[in-house]
């Protein structure tokens, strides 16, 4: 019956090992999220753009021999009721030169609302060459009822962009994040109250 005892010990060993594998897999799943983000940033999968870009003029050689058309697409999502439009629908730029485009938002409703713009670039591969030195993406923006805001975007199309990309579309999807931003709303109401009281 020694055999049986050996077997039991073997089973315990196997189960322990499998539990380790299991824990490893659980860890792996949650590691997937940062891995995925990194992967997207490197490959431009899904047109995710990188973060703020620091522009050093001397480091970038403007390429005046070709032009890239940049489309500006503005959308409001999930029932967001703001008006959202770019200064121009599209513009042609030389890679390596810096440009500014203004975007506008207006809150036509009668309540303060917080919005957040999510960028996306198509084709996805162009995302890695589309640098923003100043942008409003991902920031939470509060607008009072009827308020209009001008939001500038400064960008450079990297001169190393492959020659077959002749057109880039930059899209901003504007979401209503008022529910997730109670702090901003509270601050707004406080200021409003002080203003009213002072008056």
């Amino acid at each position: 019956m020694n055999n049986r005892v050996d077997q039991q010990a073997g089973v315990t060993r196997t189960v322990k090992k499998l539990c380790l594998v299991l824990v490893g897999m659980v860890g792996f799943v949650f590691a997937l999220v940062p891995i995925y983000d990194l992967f997207c940033e490197v490959t431009g999968l899904n047109g995710k753009t990188g973060g703020q870009y620091t522009y050093v003029e001397s480091e970038m050689e403007p390429d005046l021999t070709r032009e890239v058309r940049v489309n500006f697409i503005t959308n409001t999502n999930q029932g967001m009721n703001w008006e959202f439009w770019p200064e121009k629908g599209a513009m042609k730029v030389n890679p390596g030169t810096i440009h500014t485009v203004n975007f506008f938002v207006r809150n036509p409703s009668s309540v303060p609302t917080v919005g957040r713009a999510i960028p996306s670039v198509a084709p996805g591969l162009a995302a890695g060459y589309f640098h923003k030195t100043e942008c409003f993406c991902f920031e939470q923006q509060l607008l009072a009822p009827g308020e209009i805001m001008e939001m500038p975007l400064r960008f450079i199309v990297g001169p190393e962009i492959p020659g077959d990309i002749k057109e880039i579309s930059l899209s901003y999807a504007l979401f209503d994040v008022t529910d997730d931003s109670s702090d901003l709303i509270k601050e707004f109401n406080n200021r409003l109250n002080t203003a009213v009281a002072a008056y």
Binding site: Q7, G10, F28, N46, P123, G124, D176
Partner: protein, 528 residues
């Protein structure tokens, strides 16, 4: 199957089973638990099948006749979930419970008490999921793939119950897999080296590893959903900087291996049945083992072929196209091996063999349409149409399900000690074979003609084939009721079966008397 209890005269003097309901609640016997799993999956097959018939009834003609679109979506979603997690997977676990200890010469599973727990979780998981039908807002309605944000920001309130049900199913599957691996690696009879193991054991060993690897991924995906819904995180919510496409990557990282979880044990079953009825050893045992292993490994690098339309960069598309096509090679090897096993054998065509042969033919057809789907430019035309529906039903119904039915007929005498009625079995086969093809073959055509999947109503040019498909579905559905009758009749009044129930059967389980005694191989057999 449950009649083991009444056969009474055991050859040995071990404890027999307890009497009554408590036997089934407390049992740690692998045969009892296998029986429970099999009956449970059979019940789920009928529930899932009933939902399918509701779908096919609505699709019998264009226009909305019987149900509303919102309810239709609940039908398709739950049909998928119940069939995948409730019917096919537990049925294979049931077969594993019954067969693995007998095939490796072990007295029971390695962890009998955990075995009991992993079964009894299942009824609660499915009870919870089915109960959502009666809740406010209805049950899950976002497809069995539950893509975010349809399942998160736009899901019904009952989604939380669905998430917990999936967690429970995952826990059950993981415990089951740990048990299976521990049994196979430690409890084999002396002399049975890994490369002497029967193929069903091999396929289940690899399947169990797949389950342990991907069930946590599924659990992780639903946990992230739970957090997005209730705790304000933004894993999949674009508004918060999350990414809905990431859900699909995570889901299919689970989902593709899951597909093989449902088909590898089927390969094992067929690799037992064909040699038995061809009376000839299995051709290319070693290459079979390597083919299964390589299919399992490849299954981790092809997930994005379910997502060719999400807009990945060109190199990504090309990589996943190539990797997917490579899977055709080991799969082809398996099919060729089965045919080479038949070649110059001495074949007879009893019911299990008929189902196994239908498996080879129809699964191969599913393989062909799978190969077509791997071609990205063509996939744009097939994606999310009935062509895909036809494809995966060809691999899952005459694939996985036929292999399960074949296994039930094949080992029925060993389980019950009785023979089923061969004539009725054959009738059941032909009804199923005709039904399955009438149902799913026309779906290739409506798919190519452009009918999207998961729609409750369709344009007029799809009408004829849909009607045909619905007729086939009813034939197929009711022939499974007939299957139930054949089984019950066999259990009640079948002729007594011999220990070696089939002339060409090989393997340790056939050295036992029929029915297999409640405790078998308490002294391990010697394998030469």
């Amino acid at each position: 199957m449950s009649e083991v209890v009444h056969t009474g005269h055991h050859d040995d003097h071990d404890h027999g089973p307890e009497k009554g309901i408590l036997r089934w609640l407390y049992t740690t016997n692998h045969k009892d638990i296998g029986t429970l799993y099999l009956w449970f999956s059979f019940l789920m097959l009928f529930i899932g099948g009933a939902l399918a018939l509701v779908i096919r009834t609505e699709l019998f003609q264009p226009g909305l006749q019987f149900i509303e679109p919102a309810f239709f979506n609940q039908m398709t979603t739950n049909h998928g979930l119940i069939m995948v997690f409730g019917a096919i997977m537990p049925a294979f676990v049931g077969l594993a419970n019954w067969l693995l200890p007998m095939q490796v010469g072990a007295p029971d599973m390695a962890l009998p008490r955990m075995n009991n727990l992993s079964f009894w979780i299942m009824p609660f998981a499915f009870g919870m999921m089915i109960s959502t039908f009666f809740m406010d807002g209805g049950g899950p309605n976002f497809g069995w793939t539950f893509y975010a944000p349809l399942s998160t920001a736009y899901g019904p309130p009952s989604t939380t119950y669905f998430i917990f049900a999936v967690h429970l199913m995952g826990a059950s599957s993981i415990m089951g897999s740990i048990n299976i691996i521990a049994t196979i690696l430690n409890m084999r009879a002396p002399g049975m080296t890994l490369m002497k193991m029967p193929l069903f054991v091999w396929t289940w060993l690899i399947t169990a590893f797949l389950l342990i690897a991907v069930m946590p991924v599924l659990a992780g995906a639903v946990t992230m959903m739970l957090f997005d819904i209730h705790f304000g995180t933004s894993f999949f919510n674009a508004a918060g900087g999350g990414d809905p496409v990431m859900f699909q990557h995570i889901f299919w990282f689970f989902g593709h291996p899951e597909v093989y979880i449902m088909i590898l044990p089927a390969f094992g079953v067929v690799s037992h049945i064909i040699p038995t009825f061809a009376r000839k050893p299995l051709f290319g045992y070693t290459s079979m083992v390597y083919a299964i292993a390589s299919i399992a490994i490849l299954s981790f690098v092809v997930w994005a072929h379910h997502m060719f339309t999400v807009g990945m960069p060109l190199f990504g598309q090309a990589f996943f196209m190539g990797a997917t096509m490579v899977i055709a090679i080991p799969t082809g090897v398996k099919v060729f091996n089965w045919i080479a096993t038949m070649w110059r054998g001495s074949m007879t065509f009893e019911t299990p063999m008929l189902f196994a042969l239908a498996f080879v033919i129809l699964f191969t057809m599913g393989g062909f349409s799978g190969l077509m789907l791997s071609i990205v430019p063509a996939d744009y035309q097939y994606h999310d149409t009935y062509f895909v529906v036809a494809h995966f039903h060809y691999v899952l119904v005459p694939g996985a399900l036929f292999s399960i039915i074949a296994a039930v007929y094949f080992w029925f005498p060993k389980w019950t000690g009785k023979m089923y009625d061969e004539a009725l079995g054959k009738l059941h086969f032909w009804l199923s074979f005709i039904g399955v093809n009438v149902t799913f073959f026309p779906q290739h055509f409506v798919g190519l003609a452009g009918m999207p999947r998961r729609i409750p109503d369709y344009a007029l040019q799809f009408a004829d084939f849909n009607m045909l498909s619905s007729v086939g579905a009813f034939i197929f559905g009711f022939s499974q009721l007939f299957f139930l009758y054949v089984l019950i009749k066999g259990i009640r009044s079948g002729k007594p079966a011999e220990g070696l129930s089939w002339e060409g059967a090989k393997g340790l389980e056939w050295t036992l008397p029929s029915p297999a005694p409640y405790h078998s191989f308490t002294n391990p057999p010697k394998v030469s």
